[in-house]
Symmetry: C2
Subunit: 192 residues, 2 copies
């Protein structure tokens, strides 16, 4: 294959992946976790052997779809001011959870993981990965003397986003102003 | 019926209720949310018409079982010192979520509610009710000048317990020391 052909194959691969994962999300939102790979194949128009080649189990397919959704809904933030970056991320999480997909998807993951230890471990990995977007900025704030050194930035971020997660699971939204208050309280709690 | 007979009937009713709800919890822990009233009837030895008379839907049965578990696992706390009461409740929640049942039950509720708007509303009611155990003490602390008046005690308690909930959903425990740190940070964040 020429370099141009290889690029074309990669692009096609990425497009197929996007189609499969977006279809998986749509089905999760619509019907909760009780989805089968066959249904994703039918709804996406991608052959199921192609799907199985990439995602050998239903759990891996759901995990990949959630990961993609998370990365799209809450992108990384670049800001010289760590406090501003944390605020922006908190608002972004609140917004993502307010979307019609938000609570449904979160419940679907929890539902899927109720029946699968593999997905419980995935949920843990997923949250840790996503938290890193924020804890990086919180660590900068700590290094600048803005947070106590004996408090794990992960705990500070959990106090900001986990209330939003549980509210979304219970069908309740967090406004931007409420997200900002969660940030203010958590940063004040862990301030030097 | 004599008063003694009425008391006996009430006791029998309470015993049947306890049996049915404990069996429901055991099945939820064992198999997640995919349980049927018939299975609860078979496993508990209580006739299904008796169960349906008390709990007209599977969702109401699950809701009642979770409520009973919550009340047993995290009882109300009486303490003249509101801060001590909040600490004790936080340790109690951490302990309940560390039990083998903890995460499984939480995931089972979320799984059940993924497929049922009725259970989403129940989860919301349940959390609000349970939060009241703590917010009562936090309101006392606020009245004594220990917390800012412009911060809702519910938000303070969410910052304490929701990290424990999300960790449990992800299969991770919160130690008593970690629960105490969550309290310390949240109270400091909302301090006057």
């Amino acid at each position: 294959m020429t370099a141009a052909e290889q690029t074309a194959v990669r692009r096609r691969g990425a497009a197929v992946e996007a189609t499969v994962l977006d279809t998986t999300i749509a089905l999760l939102v619509e019907r909760g976790s009780a989805i089968a790979v066959d249904e994703v194949a039918e709804a996406s128009g991608v052959h199921k052997t192609t799907i199985y080649r990439r995602y050998p189990t239903r759990e891996l397919l759901i995990a990949a779809a959630i990961r993609r959704l998370g990365e799209t809904a809450v992108p990384a933030v670049v800001d010289a001011d760590p406090r501003a970056a944390v605020l922006q991320l908190a608002r972004s999480v609140a917004g993502a959870l307010r979307s019609p997909q938000g609570g449904n998807i979160l419940r679907a993951v929890m539902a899927a993981s109720a029946a699968s230890p593999e997905l419980v471990a995935f949920a843990d990995d997923f949250f840790r990965d996503r938290y890193a977007l924020a804890t990086e900025h919180l660590a900068r704030l700590a290094a600048a003397g803005g947070l106590r050194a004996d408090v794990d930035p992960v705990v500070v971020w959990e106090q900001i986003v986990n209330p939003m997660h549980v509210r979304a699971l219970c069908g309740r939204a967090t406004s931007d102003a409420e997200a900002e208050q969660l940030v203010e309280l958590a940063l004040r709690g862990a301030a030097v």
